[in-house]
Subunit: 705 residues, 2 copies
Amino acid sequence: MKRFFYPRSVAVVGVSERADNLGRNIVNNLLEFGFSGDIFPVGPKGGRVHNLDIFPLLEDLPYVPDLVAVLAPARVVPSVLDACGQMGVQRVVVESGGFSELGAEGQRLEEEVRQRLRQYGIRMMGPNGLGAINLEIGLCLPFMNLPHKPRLGGVSLLCQSGGVGTNVIAWLAQAGLGMNKFVSLGNKLDVNENDLLEFLLEDPGTKLIYLYMEDLADGRRLMELGRRANKPILLHKANIGELSADIARSHTASLAVDDDVVTAACCQAGILRVHSRNEFLQAAIALQQPPLRGNRLVVLSRSGGEAVVTADACHKAGFKLPPLSPEIVHLIESRSRAGVIKPINPLDLGDIFDFSLYADVAAAFCQDPDVDGIILNYGPINDLEREAARAMARNLIETARRHEKPLLITVIGNLEEREYFRHELGVPVFAFPGEAIRALALARRFHTCQLPLTPVAPPEVPSLGAVGSLLAPYLATVGPVPMPVALEAMNTLGIAVPPRRLAQTAEEAEAAAQELGLPLCLKLVAPSALHKSDLGGVLLNLNTTAAVRQGFAAIAQVARTNLPKGEPWQVLAMPFIEKGMEVIIGAKRDRVFGPMILFGAGGIWVEVLEDVAMRLAPLDQAAALELIHETKIAKILRGFRGQGPSDLQALAQCLVLLSAFMLEFPQVQEVDLNPVRVFPEGQGCLALDARIIMGEAATATVTTG
Amino acid sequence: MKRFFYPRSVAVVGVSERADNLGRNIVNNLLEFGFSGDIFPVGPKGGRVHNLDIFPLLEDLPYVPDLVAVLAPARVVPSVLDACGQMGVQRVVVESGGFSELGAEGQRLEEEVRQRLRQYGIRMMGPNGLGAINLEIGLCLPFMNLPHKPRLGGVSLLCQSGGVGTNVIAWLAQAGLGMNKFVSLGNKLDVNENDLLEFLLEDPGTKLIYLYMEDLADGRRLMELGRRANKPILLHKANIGELSADIARSHTASLAVDDDVVTAACCQAGILRVHSRNEFLQAAIALQQPPLRGNRLVVLSRSGGEAVVTADACHKAGFKLPPLSPEIVHLIESRSRAGVIKPINPLDLGDIFDFSLYADVAAAFCQDPDVDGIILNYGPINDLEREAARAMARNLIETARRHEKPLLITVIGNLEEREYFRHELGVPVFAFPGEAIRALALARRFHTCQLPLTPVAPPEVPSLGAVGSLLAPYLATVGPVPMPVALEAMNTLGIAVPPRRLAQTAEEAEAAAQELGLPLCLKLVAPSALHKSDLGGVLLNLNTTAAVRQGFAAIAQVARTNLPKGEPWQVLAMPFIEKGMEVIIGAKRDRVFGPMILFGAGGIWVEVLEDVAMRLAPLDQAAALELIHETKIAKILRGFRGQGPSDLQALAQCLVLLSAFMLEFPQVQEVDLNPVRVFPEGQGCLALDARIIMGEAATATVTTG
């Protein structure tokens, strides 16, 4: 990737003398950003642009350029690649649109491009993106004006959309944040975000990475990169709902990913998920501060109201505001008139016009080992005190830097002062305390999270072989496996299910009652009876043999009325189990991230409470227990109000087995065990129902990361 | 109140020639803001300031001023009020701090001030606030520089904190929003937010009101004002958690209010609750647009990425993006090359450089009755097209105004253009689509909510007399009423409870079993046994007479071990009831808002799920049903997955009765019925436990609003 960002020469294909030619803008940007290497405009009509000759053909160039940027019509891109390949060009950026985002014809064109890349060994960014910027050497390939140029700094951006990307660049400049590298990826036909991320993680100039993505190339690789990153990665994954599905497909040929899976994956891999560019910008400001090593803040304010608002924000974000130390209380009391300043945290110094007290208090905070970060609300109340106030603030900033403590500032009622701090002093200034605190909360997540650097190793599950034999007839099918087979498969895997009998007549149902004991429940089993209980195909708590016989007749009636004519059906008999808490255990295979396991409140509560947590497979026992504890229902399962704890180890074991099952059988799309009943500690759990849905074998390679 | 905002003359008490005198700033602000009436600086040392004579005494003034602003030390404020009163001044603004926010001595001073106000019939703003601004006549009383002066417009601000207030003023100016009136209320010793709100609701210049409050004066009056408002009221209630409690008290002598109650009250009264100044600013921009009459938006974007981000924001905010009408599809297809523009919503016109198409499409959207609002993402890609792009945007804006449809704009990657639109064209411009959509969602709440304009009338409850007799011995006590009495009181009120017997011996417990039938449950009753089940004082599902006898013995042991020596105790026997869904019904009396009723998931689920909704009393049957339907558990209660509906009418009736109970007995602080079991439709519900806590009689007058 380095050769994309540090070329010594760039050819721009698609340049003409016309005023509205977009290729000209690329040449202009290279010149304006101060690219020091050779720039070769190329265009069939020749001429001159920005004092440079336009070469009619790539072949006319004096030597082989390190990088070629292409902004020619989509249909000629394959032949441009031919020219590049034949010359020996190895890095190409294609900015032209008109490929798979426009449908079938564009897809054919992309196939031609892919073929050229393979043939010549070319790596390509795009198509349908703005290409790369590297402020370190003045490389700037976008074809639009960039009216706001950020200073050189540590933030690198990977944006699938060019429009979103240029907007972020403008806002970086506005926020006083420094930029290092930028790529607008477009359709990601060859180079994708993971390739670039891998490079940026090792890039010395890059201190923080922002990704705006409308789809994701390979979730497992992204997670692996996240796990080994030692700089913050902020992921803004857009295209989260059905409203954006069509436009994302037509914009960057992006498909949707299950948003909850993205959230779970980020959480597991230590990637900070942000939901807007504003959230990213604020977080980037906070992340450039010394690390926040704990959760204890002090608030030093010139306005009582801002102190209240800041305390509210701390409350929402879960920060602590510990009492001031006796030394600091003494300092304040010795320097203010009796009773005017309450020595509490947040500390309102609004009635103090002696700025040296601010400086002395802040210095004391910096030295206090029980203070992890400092929030200052500040603003001059008139022009006379401006200089003294600025000097005070400069002093605070230096003190905090020396002590390596984060100091975040909100400037009250004076926007010029805010600009001064931001642009002149380069300090983290926020418009409102809420923004500062939310940003600091994200920084806290980065600085304090303790992720396992090695991924979980999947445990050995000897039963998988037997499960495979059992499921063999269904592995090549699509759709649900018959319910009795699904239950048997789970039982074989090691997830306990109740004893059960199949009945095709009322007599067989009665015999099942004899064997299994009463009360009994009966369930209709038939290929088209997926929603058994909605049909009336499930009867619970049948207490007598007569009730079992009548129950069978009732289900037979349901089958006759509701099933397609001639469809075979049976009735499954199981003991009716009333005890235990109802939970749900499930698994899904995500297109991008592969298999994930979910756990939550079960039975009728699933859809009502939506109390479900999820993790990507594989899970070991410890990870499975963590997953359980992420739900609300875990509070009850741990033992609550006189009820003893439930058998969490048994539940966790089920999750581990299901995870191994999903990794072993890529044909399985989805598993639902709902409800699973969990009993008191040591007494295990029972899956009362099981659904296994087969799909096409997933093409993504599932690693164990 | 009008006389505070439209004085013809203002005296400023506390002015001197010293450069650091803060009273000077008031005089300066009056001059700078263009106050056209007489300004009289007053200060004991006399002299001149800003070319005006300083009068040594108020009595020296040539005539009685309409308004006196005071910024003298707190201790002299009573004597200033004497001087005002004796002259006949009727409106005073006290900006000095040093009153109840500083503790006992300040409270005594406030009592002296109160006495003067009564004696002379003076109305006063403050103390400890910045006073008022009225841009209509250039009145400006704050004692600090206001470097950012907003233009005259329709937004009026009521801010308890001066620091927060001046910051909001600066941001109004920055956002291009016009301001009308402003008050920094401070300690609200006399004039409070409700007095001012009542005035502003009738004030023709005020179109929208923002309140920043750290406490609330009278919740019921606020709600009544909210109900009759025909302009948006945005309430930013700060001081929401324990972290801000101390600082709010020392800043504006504010006490905390239960934040959930504030939320419920705002919702009932049609007041828009905002949680930050940024949220207010964005909402104010959207609320100045023509009303959003429905939920269907169209997105017109110059960037596909911004279109995706906008669609995501619409998804989160619950907006719909309906398909484009056939006419608009036809228009787009007739004007663009085949396949380049997908005629979908969001509509990405990024590849169109013919701006007349934007204008024509927007005009068609304006005329489309199925479109309620329009979002435009737009930005010029180079300087050449700036003028054409601006003309296009102006055209769109005019078209939308003519058709009275809200049009919100985000400008891509070009901050100067954003400023141009905001300040030159005065149109609603947002930095990011997320902010625009969230603001529009708040506007939707204002424009589409259908509140009952007349408050609920409390129903007649004939049983209240008998309940009163029963509770008479406890009405003057503080703390919990004995559990058997609480159950009896609820039963008398009309909320069904199970039959029950009290037992003091094992034999009496056995006799209770005979009468009530098995299975039985036993509960320890004693003044200090509030958390019965934690102690082991509750035994459920006793199936045999022997079990009842053993159970009594076990509870007796608990009583002997856990209760203070000599405390009397009994055992309450009740049938053990297993059927029905568990819910909680409760009531609390809030210091500011008075009695409120709550409903939610019951039993062990209360604390785990926190699925509780609340409303302020009184409730009628319809309001009670609405309250029930606000919870998640309502989904189950309405009938779910083969289970029939529960008896919602019976539950609602309980809520109505409890509401009447809370209004009748102001001594009651809190009622908890947990669990209440609700049975299938027509079969009623039963409160299995009841707690009534008595407190001091609430001083707030509880109206029926």
